[in-house]
């Protein structure tokens, strides 16, 4: 079983849109779905803007909480109750009996996601797709592949957006090796890295690095230092969402930015597949079929 995570850099960066595209592209495979947060709600919990629905076909396996399962229109058959909880009840494994929408509230920590991945092996699934939540990403240290979803919702300053995406991609390109390195397990702050700037260091995963709040400094350190990781998912591609919630006198409204230069520059400077999910679903399918064989 292969696991794919959809890692967002902020709210409304297009995680669920990417998720739906992935489901569509991988039509024919035996799929399981979950989320490290809350997915499939009608309206965003913060901005109140409409959210994309998650529609699932018969046979799909869904890992979600009991309360979330009740709010799904898809008919769900309970397969197994798992020994972990969310604020919306216990997590269980379900099989979709009849097509419909699902609300996904799954394992929200690295440890829980790790356990879920182990537990669902028994269901003979080809692919487990894990949707992200807000800007949270640490649980994805345990998946095989990731898609980074970023966009105008993270920042409307395009230079900043490009810088961040570049730093992330670079972090995911760090080597996986553990020979004679100083082990910096746990949280890695910029200060902690700097203290070891002359050493060969080992951090747990690229995600532990990109939690830093100073990407400019992090980029420098990535250039200068010898850093390796214990584990890392392989990066499939970066998706960029031009839409973002814009604050108005009465709540939020959906606004759109021209992000073509972001896509272009990331492709050019990093040789990474970069996609506007709203427009280039086909391209996503192509990349996925390559990565998911």
């Amino acid at each position: 079983m292969l696991t794919i995570g959809i890692l967002g850099t902020a709210k409304n960066t297009g995680k669920t849109t990417a998720l739906n595209a992935v489901i569509k592209c991988l039509n024919g495979k035996k799929i399981a779905l979950t989320s490290i947060g809350f997915d499939g709600e009608d309206l965003d919990h913060v901005t109140g803007l409409p959210k994309p629905k998650v529609v699932v076909d018969e046979g799909t396996v869904v890992i979600t909480s009991t309360q979330a399962a009740r709010h799904s229109t898809a008919k769900l058959e309970l397969l197994e109750e798992l020994p972990m909880k969310t604020p919306l009840g216990k997590i269980s494994v379900y099989r979709v009996k009849q097509l419909g929408t699902v609300v996904l509230v799954g394992p929200n920590s690295s440890d829980d996601l790790f356990d879920v991945i182990k537990r669902v092996q028994q269901y003979k699934i080809d692919l487990l797709i894990v949707d992200g939540a807000i800007n949270r990403m640490v649980p994805f240290q345990f998946v095989d592949r990731v898609i980074i979803a970023t966009g105008a919702a993270r920042t409307t300053n395009l230079d900043e957006l490009i810088l961040e995406a570049k730093v992330m991609v670079k972090a995911f390109r760090l080597p996986k090796e553990d020979n004679n390195r100083i082990n910096l397990s746990g949280m890695v702050t910029i200060d902690r890295l700097q203290m070891h700037s002359r050493d060969a260091v080992l951090v747990e995963s690229p995600i532990h690095l990109i939690l830093a709040d100073n990407y400019k400094r992090l980029e420098q350190l990535l250039e200068e230092m010898d850093i390796a990781v214990v584990r890392k998912p392989q990066l499939i591609c970066v998706t960029v969402n031009p839409c973002y919630p814009e604050r108005r006198v009465e709540g939020y409204e959906l606004a759109k930015l021209d992000i073509s230069q972001v896509v272009e520059r990331l492709k050019r400077e990093l040789d990474i597949v970069c996609i506007d999910v709203n427009k280039e679903e086909n391209q996503l399918c192509e990349v996925l079929s390559k990565w998911c064989e």
């Binding site: 947060g37 969310t86 604020p87 509230v105 920590s109 800007n135 949280m187 532990h208």
Partner: protein, 592 residues
């Protein structure tokens, strides 16, 4: 337990300080961090201390969700998720948001300390918390109905005596139908006798199954769906009052559709209403005879049939008081009968209002009203007496004279009347500038006057704040809440309140507009507690004026020696004042 309290906020730390006090008192070890610390710094403290619980407090502003997301990610990266439970609390936090943010639990605005403490101590506690127990309250309990002034007693005695004597010799199709219906309910087959006394519309419904225009039968499928919906609707009982026992809060329903009514009732109950009033359609009041079956129509007021009433009853909460309006039409006695049969607690009868502003003929409604009051007495159903003719322009004292005459008649017939003065900005008050300065004095004057005359329950409506509402829902909720507070201050027994879109709904009112009013009232009650609203001296002047006006009106009616003639002749309100004797049922009374 070891608890780390984190105000993840530049300034706000009240909630964590209060939790700190609560947890410390219960013997837990707490560490309270100051506000405005760097997130990484907080995580380092978490690593050092490895508390059992990390409790983060944050008001949701710009980018707060991302900040909370990053915090939980750092805790995760530090390998602390299995060692510590991480909890988020704040005004805008919901369970859903906590799930999205990846926390182990989330506590929002309505959280009580006990819930958080119970969570930390691993005890189960219902999310609803302390279950409030609600009981049906007897509004009329403790009232003696004593007339406090012998001069008034004499007049009321004379008027009531005349009505009883007059009515005893008379009957009407309405009274006869009630008698037949009573026997039908006992199992006799008297449909022919019944339809004989009905209008064509009702007769052809029974005989030829012709469904009246705009009316439709409710399907079995709809009933099934309603039952499902009702079984799913759950809420914990809620009391609107704060530190006082009075007033009970009633809402009116009558959407035309019993299902919509049922849902309006459930929403109102959930938001704290103590009782509901059934409003029937105006055509039902003018048409001789009642239909049967489950019926809906798209008009104001819900059709009265035994089946409709029973359906409504099935939706009512156990503690909810239920009043079925009977007062103003040609089916008054029969409605009291059906209301009792369906399990109603209260009914509504006032022949004066019903014939001067409700469209029924005074003679007919007097005969029917007397019989209806007798039924109410027999069934031990208190009845309320609306004085909404004041909205048509009739001065309050004349409306009150009519109400007191019927109330006293009720007492003599063994029934329990409830007085209903209006708390409103009435045409009479506007013209005479009674409310130029404030809305308090004149309403207080009404209550003082009534209390000086009789020891009886008082329930202003229907609804309070009439004519003070506008299309602005916040404004409407505000005036309703203020009138409710005045009712509370006067220690009145009950109030009827409108939704905030009652006058402007352009069709059926909405449930959210009901919530507006109930929510505002709860806060008005909370604001005032046992504190009183102080009227000016003018209130006592008004009380004196109203009392004198009532006395003079009763005197004239008593002198006239004929209650029905007094209604026709404008003693309870002239045509110029807006009192128009109705025509429905005219000429149908006969001597027996």
């Amino acid at each position: 337990m070891k608890i780390l309290l984190v105000p993840l906020d530049p300034v706000h730390d009240v909630a964590v300080k209060m939790l700190n006090r609560e947890f410390s008192q219960r013997g837990h070890q707490t560490i309270l961090l100051p506000p405005d610390m760097k997130i990484e710094e907080i995580v380092q403290i978490c690593q050092r201390e490895t508390p059992d619980y990390i409790m983060v407090s944050r008001t949701l502003g710009y980018n707060a969700a991302e900040l909370l997301g990053r915090f939980i990610d750092l805790i995760d990266a530090a390998g602390l998720r299995r060692k510590c439970k991480v909890v988020v609390g704040g005004k805008a936090i919901t369970k859903e948001l906590a799930a999205e943010l990846g926390y182990d639990a989330g506590f929002g605005e309505k959280t009580r300390w006990e819930e958080v403490v119970a969570f930390v101590e691993g005890r189960e506690i219902s999310a609803e918390g302390k279950t409030v127990e609600k009981f049906k309250k007897e509004i009329t309990r403790g009232y003696s109905y004593e007339i406090k002034d012998s001069a008034f007693r004499e007049l009321l005695e004379k008027i009531a005596g005349q009505i009883i004597e007059w009515a005893n010799q008379r009957t009407s199709p309405g009274v006869e139908r009630a008698k037949i219906r009573e026997r039908i309910l006992k199992g006799e087959d008297l449909l022919d006798e019944y339809t004989e006394l009905c209008d064509d519309l009702v007769r052809s419904y029974y005989k030829e199954k012709v469904i009246p225009k705009h009316v439709r039968l409710i399907t079995q499928e709809e009933i099934k769906r309603l039952k499902e919906l009702l079984s799913k609707s759950s809420y914990s009982p809620r009391v609107l009052r704060h530190s006082t026992d009075k007033p009970l809060v009633f809402v009116q329903y009558g959407t035309g559709c019993p299902f919509m009514d049922a849902m309006h009732i459930k929403v109102s109950e959930a938001w704290g209403a103590d009782g509901v009033l059934h409003f029937d359609p105006s055509w039902g009041a003018r048409c001789e005879g009642l239909l049967e079956g489950l019926l809906a129509h798209e008009e104001d007021g819900s059709i009265i049939t035994l089946e409709n009433l029973k359906l409504i009853k099935s939706a009512l909460g156990e503690s909810t008081l239920w009043c079925v309006r009977a007062h103003r039409g040609v089916n008054t006695p029969e409605i009291v009968l059906l209301a009792h049969e369906a399990g109603a607690d209260l009914t509504k009868i006032n022949m004066v209002y019903g014939s001067l502003n409700g469209g029924s003929d005074p003679e007919r409604l007097t005969v029917d009203g007397v019989y209806a009051i007798k039924l109410a007495a027999k069934f031990n159903m208190p009845f309320d007496l609306p004085t909404n003719e004041e909205l048509g322009g009739v001065p309050a004292h004349k409306a009150f004279a009519g109400m007191l005459a019927v109330a006293y008649l009720g007492v003599k017939l063994g029934a329990k009347p409830i007085l209903k003065p209006l708390f409103c900005y009435s045409p009479d008050a506007i013209i005479n500038k009674y409310m130029e300065d404030n809305y308090i004095d004149y309403n207080v004057g009404k209550v003082i006057a009534l209390r000086e005359i009789i020891d009886a329950p008082i329930w202003p409506g229907e609804p309070i704040g009439f004519m003070t509402h506008t299309e602005d829902r916040v404004q409407s909720a505000m005036t309703t809440a203020l009138h409710a507070a005045l009712g509370k201050s006067l220690e009145l027994d009950a109030i009827t309140v409108s939704s905030t879109d009652e006058a402007y709904a352009r069709g059926a009112i909405t449930t959210s507009a009901r919530i507006d009013s109930l929510r505002a009232i709860a806060d008005a009650f909370r604001f005032f507690g046992r504190a009183k609203i102080e009227p000016t001296k003018q209130a006592y002047e008004y009380a004196k004026m109203i009392k004198e006006g009532i006395y003079q009106t009763l005197q004239r009616v008593a002198e006239r020696g004929d209650f029905v003639a007094s209604l026709y002749e404008g003693l309870f309100g002239t045509k110029e004042e807006g009192a128009n004797p109705g025509r429905a049922g005219r000429g149908t009374v006969r001597k027996c």
